[in-house]
Amino acid sequence: MDFEYLFELLCGGVVKGSIYALIALGYTMVYGIIQLINFAHGEIYMIGAFVALIITGMLTLSGYSGLSVLVLAAVIAMIYAAAYGYTLEKIAYRPLRNAPRLSPLISAIGASIFLTNYVQLVQTPDFLPFPELVPEFEFMESISRYMSSVDMVILAVTTLTMVALTVLIKYTRIGKAMRATQQDMVMARLVGINVDRVISATFIIGSVLAAIAGVLIASRTGQINSAIGFMAGLKAFTAAVLGGIGNIPGAVLGGLVLGVAETLGAGFISSAYEDVFAFGLLVLILILRPAGLLGKAVKQKV
């Protein structure tokens, strides 16, 4: 048993998993409140990455570079992702609030197709290179075998984001309103919560998280195209279900478990079957724990 190799894989898995977790949070928050599988969430992530690409591209061509460019691009990407998420909810989901359960799902699939093709049409269907803006940190040299500087940034940013999200949900007014709406929408309305605004806020927060994930993953893989949203969305949704959908710590745990399982499977068995490990694990866990890792089994009352 090669422990160095194992440790290397574990680090890679955690980095990958934290990205999944960021996207999964958006899924799980939306699902928790309106029971909708937001299939277009992956596209928001893709749009975030694209906006960042455009901004960084413009700035690097004008001669600027470095971490500050990336931060600026990330902020603009977040603003745009939030705007897209908000508009998406308003157009594609809000009119369907009381429709049969599958209708919003189809609407989401339609929106996903629309957004992918929109970006493909106005930009390009090819892969575009994403500039490398994260410098090699000196203190990382000793452990660069396990983790690159980009990975370190990813871990730091995701951890910070998750702490911020926890604070937001636990201690702010809007967080409280979100939790109330998640528990019981009608009751929340009765006590004076503007449910529509809460749902909009949920979409905005989820989209911002997705944009962060998009910028991070683009800096890690170095290239993006208009189709990256789909698989990422699928994986993130898997992560959300794995942890128990609607459950916020569950999404993080699910993302990490999924990332690690995938990387381990790819590293030890075969990288071609990477996705098989992800979905196989999902099926296995759901059979053993039908509500997901952290989900509570809901007792139905008649």
């Binding site: 049969p100 699939i109 049409l121 106005v122 071609a272 196989g280 759901l286």
Partner: protein, 414 residues
């Protein structure tokens, strides 16, 4: 005036929204930035027009709803043409005979000489009609959300391709075998996941489909890998070899017969004991189990039967294309079939047929707008759901409604 102001605001918002993506294009190879401001003007104008129209239609819809509520007679609502067609047995029978006759002569109308493009297109479309009807059993009737339906289709297609390649079995032997294989996979997959709630079921089926596709792609020695399997023979007519056009026409009739069979079976099943059990489970699981419906068996049968049709028509698909590879069995196809069921109206046979034909034929004939067709397609899916969330034809069974004091009828919304 208020509309104008709002539309102006919306158009500004969309101009902001599309600003970076639509205007700037960074070319990192040539190291230059391309600015396309004219696109922004188009977006502004387009958004303005659409926003205006949108407000107008929403307003009309609201007015209609208010009127309907005031009358409190849901029966008197004006139904769409398709809806009236489905509700009126005499009319629908006449139309059915007409459509059937048209379908019978269709290949002779559109194909001349060696040109049988339209027949081939129709065969692909009809294959998806069968798929739509099959999924309609699982999703529409039994209410089990299946996002990986295409996997069973793949099972059928590969069953034929492999049996033919390795053992030389013919189309007609493989046709039922493909169906049975699909069904077997349905049962094997369905068994452990019956306990799952709706959305978990969806993701597991989705995962299953992804696994199927990856295995097909990577296990080269058996499944031919990403290159797929070529030289799959077309169906034979009692050992007779047919020419290009005749083969297409012949395949057309086979699929047409399958469509007929599916319609017949679904229609009979709908009003049978098991069909009623499916619909009862769809509407309320707890209540129907309490009434003595065997949940495991009922769900499993819906799953297996849906998978059976996919496997069956998968064989036809392989035979029709002469060639299969994993690219034909992506999640997008699963989503497309699901869209057919939901757009058509869950459970409604006629609706699903219309929606399947539309979804399959429109992109095919919209090739002139090749660049925009998927964009338009996605937008149409969203719009369709907004303006007719229950689908083309509403297959709700008769239900009791209370006349509540405020005239609002309970639609089961939460």
């Amino acid at each position: 005036m208020a509309h104008l102001k709002r539309s102006f605001g919306i158009s500004l918002w969309f101009m902001f929204l599309t600003l970076p993506l639509i205007v700037v294009r960074v070319n990192t190879v040539a190291r230059e930035v391309e600015w396309r401001w004219q696109n922004l003007a188009w977006v502004g104008l387009g958004a303005f027009a659409i926003a205006w129209f949108w407000q107008f239609s929403i307003e009309r819809r609201m007015a209609k709803r208010v009127r309907a509520a005031a009358e409190a007679h849901p029966e008197k609502q004006k139904h769409s043409l398709a809806q009236r067609l489905a509700d009126d047995p005499v009319l629908s029978r006449r139309v059915l005979i007409g459509v059937a006759a048209l379908a019978m002569v269709f290949p002779w109308l559109v194909s001349t000489g060696q040109n049988f493009y339209h027949v081939n297109v129709m065969v692909s479309a009809l294959i998806f009609v069968v798929l739509g009807l099959g999924l309609n059993i699982t999703v529409g009737l039994a209410g089990l959300l299946d996002l990986g339906y295409i996997a069973f289709f793949a099972v059928g297609a590969y069953t034929y391709a492999l049996l033919n390649k390795n053992f030389g079995l013919g189309f007609w032997t493989c046709l039922p075998l493909g169906g049975v294989m699909g069904m077997l996979f349905g049962v094997v997959l369905g068994f452990p996941i019956l306990r799952l709630r709706g959305d978990y079921l969806a993701i597991v089926t989705l995962g299953f489909a992804s696994i199927t596709k990856i295995v097909l792609e990577n296990w080269d020695t058996v499944f031919g890998g990403a290159a797929g399997i070529a030289n799959i023979p077309r169906p034979d007519l009692f050992g007779l070899e047919l020419g290009g056009r005749d083969k297409a026409v012949y395949t057309y009739y086979i699929v047409l017969a399958l469509v007929g069979l599916t319609v017949l079976v679904t229609n009979r099943l709908k009003n049978s004991r098991i069909g009623r059990a499916w619909m009862a489970l769809r509407e309320d699981e707890i209540a129907s189990v309490a009434m003595g419906v065997d949940m495991a068996r009922t769900k499993l049968s819906a799953y297996a039967l849906g998978a059976f049709w996919a496997g069956l028509v998968g064989v036809v698909f392989a035979a029709h294309n002469n060639f299969i590879n994993p690219d034909s069995f992506t999640f997008m196809d699963s989503a497309m079939i699901l869209a057919m069921v939901v757009l058509g109206g869950m459970g409604s046979i006629l609706g699903v047929i219309i929606a399947s034909l539309a979804l399959k034929l429109l992109p095919e004939y919209l090739r002139a707008f090749a660049e925009y067709r998927m964009l338009v397609f996605g937008a149409v899916m969203v719009l369709m759901m907004i303006f007719r969330p229950q689908g083309l034809i509403n297959d709700m069974r008769r239900k009791y409604e209370y006349d509540t004091a405020d005239g609002e009828s309970d639609n089961g919304g939460e």
